[in-house]
């Protein structure tokens, strides 16, 4: 991936840079256009910091009309555009291009409406994920999807990436919690999909937009469902001598009809790193540590937590603690939440992967990872959203050691291939971006990818929005439109007709 190939910059655009900057200043007056190298430096990468590129120019519009005019301007002149929210993408979804306008949506930072009776919040796309919860929590409400970057990531970016979090199995991903959006097409046309009502009419364009990684349109308003906070939450901290037992415990909990609010697993290296960092009393003599959180009405949580505890015992757990206070529950989580920085303490650098697997394949995948770890000579620590099968291996490497980054990336790619091989997928919540772009063919054949690109063609036929992301090769729409027709016999003619 270090040899990442991005689309060839368009010379005509680079040549006209001064003119484009001046025109952008007319569309967005004031301080909304940044063209100095120094000013643009802060936008040169997103959360995937291995890749950096200065954009053509940075534009920070404030109104929908400005977004529409910028896109129409670029559309008419064949100029590429890369949309960006808060820039927390871990897959390079907002990586700038040398010849593209970087359209930064962070000034769209207002909550437009809070409607408790209909249980929705209408927000501009630059509002942070946590900002929505903060706006309604005094009434006991919250917004359910909680990606770990929630303090910084924007709700518009959440729509683009279909962000998840630790509560997905019970509460769904972004796609299940967004009711409507307003968006601007590359042509500058403004459309609305859905709203405060359920099920958008016609084709499910909202479903296609969610998780489309900024390749189909620019979101300018989001309507999300808010929920009443669960009455209570309690957690169990359970240690197992083997990851197989931990995995079986997860299967048995779900098999018993229990859907926990959160269910997280850590392997031995992750447990040790976390405990060394936050000292919350994690057992150090176990191979797998499971945190199971049950939330809901008091009577239900008290009832179910006993059943989970029994299931853990039946699966041979060696330690099991039930939280008796909110402080204790949060302490159980403290290590898990600090897992990434904790791993950062034991290794100069780490590379976070994001595959999803069928839960039952966990032992096989962990074993495969141990082999790969030996092959590449790099350590790996695992945190696992056990409830929904989303695995986050953290590959330990040292960027200052020549060749280490390449090795880490090759290791990561092999892990993702393994995920696909056991029936899983390349990315559970971080997105394809540039990071997994060239692995797409591990999961999809040409025909699958072509049909996805045809969706792109319906929205943006000239491939001006966020090119170089998601698809290994973006075929021209005219080429994809050609039909290869084979005239033949009437199929299975022996069958009945009328």
């Amino acid at each position: 991936m270090s040899g990442l190939k991005m689309p060839e910059p368009q010379a005509a655009t680079l040549f006209r840079r001064a003119e484009i900057v001046a025109d952008m200043r007319i569309i967005v007056p004031g301080e909304g256009v940044v063209d100095s190298e120094e000013g643009m430096r802060v936008f040169e990468s997103d959360g995937l910091t291995a890749y950096r590129q200065l954009p053509l120019v940075v534009v920070l519009p404030e109104t929908v009309a400005q977004v529409s005019r910028i896109l129409k301007y670029c559309h008419d002149r064949n100029i590429r555009v890369v949309p960006r929210g808060s820039g927390t993408s871990l897959s390079g979804g907002a990586l700038p291009l040398k010849d593209a306008v970087l359209l930064v949506m962070s000034r769209f930072n207002r909550i437009l409406e809070i409607d408790y009776a209909n249980r929705v919040v209408v927000a501009q796309p630059g509002v942070t994920n946590l900002g929505i919860t903060h706006a309604v929590e005094h009434q006991g409400f919250y917004y359910a999807p909680d990606p770990s970057s929630q303090i910084a990531c924007s709700i518009g970016g959440n729509v683009a990436e279909n962000s998840g979090g630790v509560h997905c199995l019970k509460y769904g991903l972004t796609a299940n919690n967004v009711l409507g959006i307003e968006m601007v097409l590359m042509t500058g046309e403004v459309i609305r999909l859905g709203g405060k009502h359920l099920d958008a009419e016609g084709y499910d364009l909202l479903g296609l937009m969610t998780g489309s990684e900024g390749l189909l349109g620019v979101v300018t308003e989001v309507t999300v469902r808010i929920l009443k906070k669960p009455e209570t939450a309690r957690a169990l901290l359970i240690g197992f001598p083997t990851s197989e037992q931990g995995g079986q415990c997860v299967a048995d909990i779900i098999g018993a009809g229990i859907i926990p609010g959160g269910m997280e697993m850590m392997d031995r290296p992750a447990i040790h790193a976390a405990e060394a960092f936050v000292q919350v009393g994690y057992p150090l003599d176990v191979e797998a540590l499971l945190i199971v959180e049950l939330d809901g009405p008091m009577a239900e949580v008290d009832h179910l937590i006993e059943r989970v505890s029994e299931i853990a015992t039946q699966n041979g757990c060696t330690t099991s603690r039930i939280s008796t206070s909110d402080a204790e529950r949060l302490a159980f989580w403290a290590g898990r939440k600090a897992a990434f920085p904790a791993v950062g303490r034991i290794s100069p650098d780490y590379y976070c992967m994001d595959g999803t697997i069928p839960r039952k394949e966990l032992p096989r995948v962990l074993a495969g990872m141990r082999e790969l770890s030996e092959k590449y000579g790099l350590g790996v620590a695992n945190v696992f959203h056990a409830g929904d099968g989303n695995l986050h291996p953290l590959i330990l490497y040292d960027a200052n050691k020549p060749g280490d980054l390449d090795k880490a990336e090759a290791f990561g790619s092999d892990i993702l291939r393994l995920c696909v091989k056991v029936g899983g997928v390349l990315t559970g919540e971080h997105g394809v971006g540039v990071e997994k772009r060239d692995l797409m063919s591990e999961m999809f054949d040409e025909s699958d990818l072509n049909q996805q690109i045809r969706v792109k063609c319906a929205f943006d036929p000239n491939h001006l929005l966020n090119p170089g992301k998601v698809f290994p090769q973006l075929h021209r729409c005219a080429e994809l439109g050609r039909m290869h027709v084979h005239r033949g016999q009437v199929p299975f003619p022996e069958l009945e007709r009328f």
């Binding site: 009776a117 709203g195 009405p297 009577a299 239900e300 009832h303 929904d388 797409m440």
Partner: protein, 410 residues
Amino acid sequence: MAETQLFTPTTPEEVLETVRWAVAEETPLEIVGQRSKRSIGRPVEANHLLDLSKLTGITLYEPEELVLSARAGTPISEIEALLAANNQQFAFEPMDYGPLLGTEAGRGTIGGTLNANLSGPRRLKAGAARDHILGISAVSGRGETFKSGGRVVKNVTGYDLSKGLAGSWGTLSVVTDVTFKVLPAPETEKTLLLNGLDDHQAAEAMAEAMGSSAEVSGAAHLPEGVIAKFLDRALVGGPKTALRIEGVAPSVEYRVDHLTRLLRSHGVGDVLEAEQSCALWREIRDCHPFCDGTPSPVWRVSVAPMMGPRLVDTFRRAAGANAYYDWQGGLIWMRMESDPEAEVLRKLITHFGGGHATLVRAPESLRRQVDVFHPQPAPLAALSARLKEQFDPRNILNPGRMIQPASPTT
């Protein structure tokens, strides 16, 4: 004109072969399963029938993994029976259109469930079919096979074409295989009834219930005009507002108590035990009051919950209609006395903050004249047309079902 043909493929390969033939002949296909929803939409302008009812079989079911895959023509009844035997279910509670449309109950296929994006009363808490589909295989109108998604819940790899096909009524692709998320069925349920509320008071009470921590999984209001149709006339004494609580027994008890206290000022009445509760919600789900054996126009209207009663009130100043509410007031089932009054209704939906109205039942002649699906603003309609073009450039899949074709097909 070519002889009219019926194709009943039993494998995805035969589906592909059939679509390729139709592409080559430039002749449209009407795609059907068990034909339980065939009369929804504009009449399809096609000579030939692609019948998927023999493309059947559950190909994967792993209860602990909460996942089930099946061929598109598999009867929904067969799948629901298997899930029930494992104490699981489709949480989106797919409705059965059969009785409303004058066909048998209990029919329909899993492919139709996705293509119609079915849901039920639990929609407001658990989502619709679109929220539970994990992956598909399909044949596009180009005569090409493609797949999307996978078998895991958390997946953002590439565009979500599975969701894109939800609610497309067979006009984008012929789905051959589906993979759905399944969930544990609740151990038990109860329904709290509120007595004597008018539509507006009911909307307030339902909003309060849905905004509580009681985790209500169904909120419907049954006005005076329909109440006798439910539970074989067992609900008497004026309108009823129904709130469903599901879960493990101690939790259900606890939450019914909680709700009863919370809604004391809203005319709290009886509590229905599991069996009656289950029967009531099935009738609410399947539009039982309007299953009258007639083709009189029935609308399915989706608006913001608090707007439901206001919309109905205003509409009644223009035309007569019988109506009841699901989804906290946001889903209105309306039976018209005669004319569907599409224009009046759709203007009011815009006036009351947006939403959509689908004419789910009407005689064929009416379905030719009136837009069955909610018309879209020009840029959105153009985008939808471009999407259709990308999946089905020759317009051979269910032409005319969702929108009137721009030019007449041959």
